[in-house]
Amino acid sequence: MTSPNVVTKRIVLDLDRCTGCRACGAACHVGHHDQTNLVPGKVADVALLPVHCRHCAQPACAAACPTGALYTDEYGFVRRSELLCIGCRSCALACPFGVIPDEFVRHVAPKCDLCVDRVVEGGIPRCVAACTAGALSFVDLEETVGTPEYVGGRIQSRSTLRRA
C-alpha cells in the first residue's frame, strides 16, 4: 500500500485500565446506526475487554470473502461494502482474532471501519473518544510496535489479569 493517504494509527488497549464498562461498544453502536462492530472478549470470568479489528496488512477476512465485499481502502483500513456483503459469515470464521461478531445486523457482517469518517478529518474513532477509563488510545503503530509494553494490539498488562 503506497497511497499517500495511508493512516498508520491503530487502536491500542491498555489492559491495566479497562474496566469492562462497554462504553466503547455503545459508542460504536451509536455511531454505526445500531450496528455494533466491536466485540467484547471475556477473559476467564475476570475481565471483559473490547477486541478490536487490527486492520491487517494481509486481511484473512478479505481473502475468505466470496463476493469481494471486504477490501483495503485508500487509508489502509479494511472495510466492508454493505452492498456486496451477503452475510455468509466466511469472514467471521476466517478472522484469526475473532473480531467479526456473530450477530449480523441487517443481514451484513458488522465490520470495524476505524470510524474513517472521523479519522480523515483528523479525529479519533468513537470507541477511543468514549472510553471511560482512558484505556483505549489511537496511536501510530510505527511508534508503538517497537516499545516493550506493546504486544499484538495491546499494551501488555502490568497487573490487570493478575489483579484478581
Partner: protein, 609 residues
Amino acid sequence: MKNAERSICPFCSMGCTLFIRPGTGAPYVGQEGIPALDYDPEGHVNRGSLCGKGNMALELMTHPHRLQTPLLRLDGELRPASWDAALDTLASEIERIRNADGPDAIGILAGPCLSNEEAARAATLAHRIGTPHFDFCLPEDRVILGGIARSRAHPEPVTSVEEIDAMTAMLVVGDLFTLAPCIAKPILNARYERRHNVLGVLGFWKSRTALFGKPLLRNRPGREAVVLALLLATALDDVGGRSVPWRAEARMVLDGLDRATLQDLAGVETADLAWLLDALRTEERSGVFVGCGFAETERVDLVAGLAALLAEATGSRFLSMLTGPNSRGVHRAVLEAGFPKAGGLTSPEMLEAAGTGDLTAIVSFGCDPLSSLPGRLADAAAEKLELVAVTGAMPSETSRVADVVLPSAVWGEKTGTTWSAFGEAGALVEAMPPPGAARPDGAILADLGARLDDAPDAPDAPRIGRGRRGFFDDIDLHVRMEQRELVGREVGTHLLLPEFVPSHSGDGLFTRHLSWPRHEMPEPVIALSRAHAAELEVQEGDHVRVRSREAEAVLKVRVELNLPDDVVLAPPHYPEVRRLTSWRLDTALRDLDLRPGRVSVEPIPEGTR
C-alpha cells in the same frame, strides 16, 4: 464540531458533557436534519468519555416513544388533548380536590430530571396550592442524601476531577465504576500514575471496581456498614487526644458495638484495614467515594453516613455519586423552600397516604413514582388516588395509570442549571427543540401556576397532618445500628442484591427504552454463583423462577464466578426486579428501608415456561 452545543449528559450525577450538533446530518445516515452526537475532550469532568448511558443522550432526544402531546383520561382512556385543555382540566381538578378535601390532600413530587429552577418552581406551585407535601422522589438517591445529612458529618467535598487525579490514597465503597463509569478515568489516573498509592475498594465480590482494589477489602455480603464502622472506631481510637474536627455523635455510632464483634462481622483482613486507614490519614491528598445504588448495600443510608464520617475523621475529601442527573439540585431546592412543611409527608409516605386514602391527588414532575417505588405501596396508591398527573418524556408506569399526562422536554432541549456530584452548577442548553408539543417542565409549571392563581383560594385546613417531625430530625445513626438486624430478611435462601449495569440508570425510566441498554441486556438477568447454578442444574441462558416475600419473577440466568454462594444479583432497572425487593416504609426514618431481602430460586422445568 461546528454549530455544536455543549450539553450535559442526562443520566447520572457525574455531570459529563457532550456535544450535540442539531440537524446537520449524521454520518452513515447521510440525511439532512438528523442531529449528531460528539465527544467533548475538553469536558472538565469526563475529558471526552461517555459511558453506555451517555452515548444514548441523543437517542433519548429523538426516540420514537417520546411523548409528544398532552393526554387526558376521558371515559377511562387516555386521549390526546391540547395544552390548554390539559392544563385547564388539571387546574380545575386540583381546585376541586383542594376545595373538597383540603390542600393537604394533594402531594407534589419532583424528580431528578428537573433543573434547579424547575424544582424551585415546583416548590412555588406547592406553596400556591397550600399543600405541605412536596418532596424529591428517587428512592436510592433520597436515602443516600438522607444518610449523609443525618450523620452530620461535614467532610471536605471533592470539587473537581483534577483533585482525584492527584490523590495518593482512596477508598471506594461499592461498585462505583458501574454506577458512573466516567469516574474511572481520574481514579485510575491516580492509581497508575504514582507508584505508592492506595486504592481501597470495599465490596463483597469482584465487581468491575473491585478488580482494581489495592487492597480489595472483601467484606461479607451486606456488611459494608460494619467495615466502615470498624474503620471509624480504629480512626477514633488512634487519634487519641489530638484535636480532630469530630462530633460526639460519631462516637455514639460505635459505642453500642464492641470492636471484636465488628471485626467478626466484617470478615475483612485486619492488616488491609490498617494499611488503608493509615494511608487515608497520613496522605495529604486522600478521598472517600461512595456510589448510591452500589450493589453491596445493607443500609444505603448508613453506609453513606458512615463513609462521610470516615472522610471527616481521616481528613479525606468526600464524593457521593447519585443515580439521578440532578438529584442533588432538586433535593436541595425542596429543602431550601422549606419542604416538607410541618405535617408534610416525604415521597414514600405520600404513596402510603395515597394507599390509605389520606392523599387524593399526586402531581409529579420529571419522575415516575410508581416505577421508582413499586410494590404494594404503589399498587394501593394507584388504586385509590382520584387524580394522578404526571409530566414525562417517555411512557412510564405512572403515566399508564395517570389522568393527565404532560409531555416534557429532556436535557438538551431546555435551559437551566443543575448540581452535579462535584457540587458545581452545570448549565443546560437547548441544543434542539423538544419533539412535537412537548415542553420543558418549567414552562408547564409556570402555566399551571398562572391558572391556579385565577382560581379562588381554598380554605387552609390541614386534614392529614400527623404532627410529624422535621425532615432531617435527629435520628442518630447509632440508634439505627442497634435496631436493625445485621443480615437481610429471612425469606427464601439467598440474599438478593441489586446489580447496576453500566448502560442502565437509576430506576431505568429512560434507559429501558434505549437501544444500547436493550442490546446489552435485553431482559433482566439474575446472576448466580457457579455452585448455586450447579445445584439448581441450570446453565447460563436458562430461566429460573425467583420468589421473594413481595413478588415473583422469571429471570434469565447468568453464571458469575466471583459471587458468594448465598447471594444472587439482579438489575433494579427492570420493574419485575424492583418488585422483588422489600419496599417498606421506615417510620422512624420516614424513608424507605432499602435493605436487601431474601429470595428463593427454582429451576423451571423444560417446556413449562
